[in-house]
Symmetry: C2
Subunit: 366 residues, 2 copies
């Protein structure tokens, strides 16, 4: 089969890590008899430099024309990069938000789990880690505070800023359905997170989730307040299977969850719409401080490509092959610098490799 | 001196823990020659049961008439308590929100630190704990999503809920000033947390904080995005001194930070207005599951009373005496059940005591 992959290399370490993911896709292609055609799409800081805006209409069209989009990372150092002297709607991140909305990518899936081999990188105590944990954050991505009306203006001589948090029942229902669907393929538990003791939008959220839950009698579900969830992620992450939540809470909790695993360089994500189309990107940022040094961890991007194979192209065996190759490379004790053991004596047991070598090693195992 | 203390015992474990804090205040009174006069104020579930509403106007007046308010906790089990079948504005928590607004308690201080003696309760790995950590979350408490307009209504036949997040420059300035003031008495570092890459209110927040920072040349400050802060609290909590943030982010981050310490039963909080007046309460919840069993940890409430002595009554020596008594009781190896060591062999080294006994032991050390 032939697939058109839109590629947003982006800024910082983006181009380096995307290059390795393409290498892996090509290896999958030759092993399994598929062809991946890449179309470079400009977004973020590099697009600002080239076109003056973080995302052009042509770029949106190119993304729409592809079967799925693979992304590296966008943005730079917010204190030193000139991109951040531009008005907010012209900064790199505005491109990403615009693309999410334009492609209607309302369902953001962020797996967070503990790699047995990287247990020591986990910031939690061993007895809390226990047998490990494996959760999926299902974050609503095109509603809420991110896309509400906003204004900054003088009111009675006082500068005032307003953002609005809006959700309607349809927006909540479609993400809730996604959350319960995915729970059915996992451990059949949904934790819906909101702030229903304060927000109207959360109370509507809770009501709609309860309606949706009725269609999934096999799934056990619970409601949890966002402040409590922020605690529980540290106290007992193993309790979670699927965490279902709105845009801003999902932003905060998914980052907390990925840090709790200790291996943010390993975590992929998918942003999906109603069709098979999706945007796939690593959970980590553009890490401008290490860009160009050839030391960035490409695994999260490679695993994002695996998610693309699975969710957008229905190539489950191929996705498994990539995921297993990643597991094998860890078992074979290869590490990029971000996942090296902390203690010097342990470091001797593993081999530190750069971005490109890590890509090669994974390809060899496919 | 004579002080009028409004007392909100509240629900769940509230009455038990408040009783111990009063015991301690009385001991301070007799040792240092002060008199504390208590006035019981109804709020939360117990007020609903007695009056039909979670906070009456008389209760507000009683709070206003006192020099400071000491609170236990309010609310019950949200799934089983009949209080949660009431409309949102009649539930227990609505009383607390109403009181915060009525008394203009805009500055919420939540210390989060590692007790050397309770290091093992910390969910983080020893090398991350390092020499420990000690931060103060300064949360804005009367603005933002908590107090914005909200509505739930049909729009084109689709049920839609809207909450609004509003901040004006004056609201931001007064909390920022508090944050920098307190940093001056601490390690002189402020981390201002926002989501300036998305929200107008955060961009105004950042601008005003920068203006305020100019008046504090000795304080080093930085801006941090809320998603990053949620990660950093787990990765390296020692980096923080004062975290300054808006209401909803502060709700989430302060709970995360207190769980990171592992000793939520030890953490106090203060909610202050422009005067010396304040509301003092433990960080933990009403824990209805253990209410009435005499096992709740009263220390957070006792330390909240110490904060009251310090911030509202300017009784620094008295506050020190209470805080030192708490430290001593831990050194003397007394523990309530929530802070008992996990390992059986270690448990033998300490003495487990109940709520009332813990209060007595602290009194003895004042
Ligand atoms: C870059 C930023 C706007 C974005 C977000 O907040 O959604 C990022 O943090 C993410 O989580 O993908
Ligand atoms: C009870 C609830 C409304 C409250 C809040 O969200 O502010 C609580 O979580 C807190 O942090 O004091």
């Amino acid at each position: 089969m032939k697939f058109r992959v839109g590629v947003i290399s982006g800024d910082g370490i983006g181009p380096e890590i995307v290059k390795e993911a393409k290498k892996v896709l090509d290896k999958v292609g030759s092993e399994f008899g598929h062809e991946f055609e890449y179309e470079e799409i400009l977004m973020g800081g590099c697009s600002i430099d080239a076109t003056g805006v973080p995302l052009t209409d042509e770029a949106i069209e190119a993304a729409k024309a592809s079967d799925a989009v693979l992304m590296g990372s966008i943005g730079g150092n917010t204190s030193t990069s000139p991109w951040y002297t531009l008005p907010p709607n012209l900064r790199p991140e505005a491109g990403l938000l615009k693309l999410r909305k334009a492609l209607n990518l309302f369902a953001n899936l962020r797996p967070a789990y503990l790699y047995e081999e990287l247990k020591e990188a986990c910031p939690l105590r061993e007895d809390i880690i226990g047998d490990g944990f494996d959760m999926m954050i299902m974050r609503e991505l095109t509603g809420g505070l991110y896309f509400g009306d906003r204004v900054t203006e003088e009111r009675n001589g006082v500068m005032t800023a307003v953002d609005t948090l809006t959700y309607n029942e349809n927006e909540i229902r479609r993400i809730a359905v996604r959350g319960f669907d995915i729970a059915m393929k996992r451990r059949k538990k949904v934790t819906s997170v909101d702030k229903a003791n304060v927000l109207d939008s959360s109370r509507l959220w809770r009501k709609v989730v309860e309606e949706v839950a009725k269609d999934y009698p096999e799934v056990s579900y619970e409601h949890m307040l966002v402040d409590n969830c922020a605690m529980q992620l540290v106290k007992d992450p193993a309790q979670f299977d699927v965490i279902l939540t709105e845009n801003m809470f999902g932003d905060i909790l998914s980052d907390e969850a990925s840090m709790v695993t200790g291996s943010i360089g390993m975590l992929s994500s998918a942003s999906l719409n109603e069709t098979k189309f999706g945007l796939y990107e690593p959970s980590g940022g553009s890490a401008p401080d290490i860009a160009g040094k050839g030391i960035a961890n490409p695994i999260a991007t490679i695993l994002s490509a695996a998610m693309m194979l699975r969710y957008s192209f229905d190539l489950d065996a191929e996705a498994d092959a990539v995921e297993n190759a990643v597991k094998q490379v860890l078992k074979d004790k290869y590490r990029t610098i971000d996942i090296m053991p902390q203690e010097a004596e342990r470091a001797g047991e593993v081999t530190q490799v750069g971005t490109s070598k890590m890509g090669d090693l994974i390809c060899e195992r496919i």
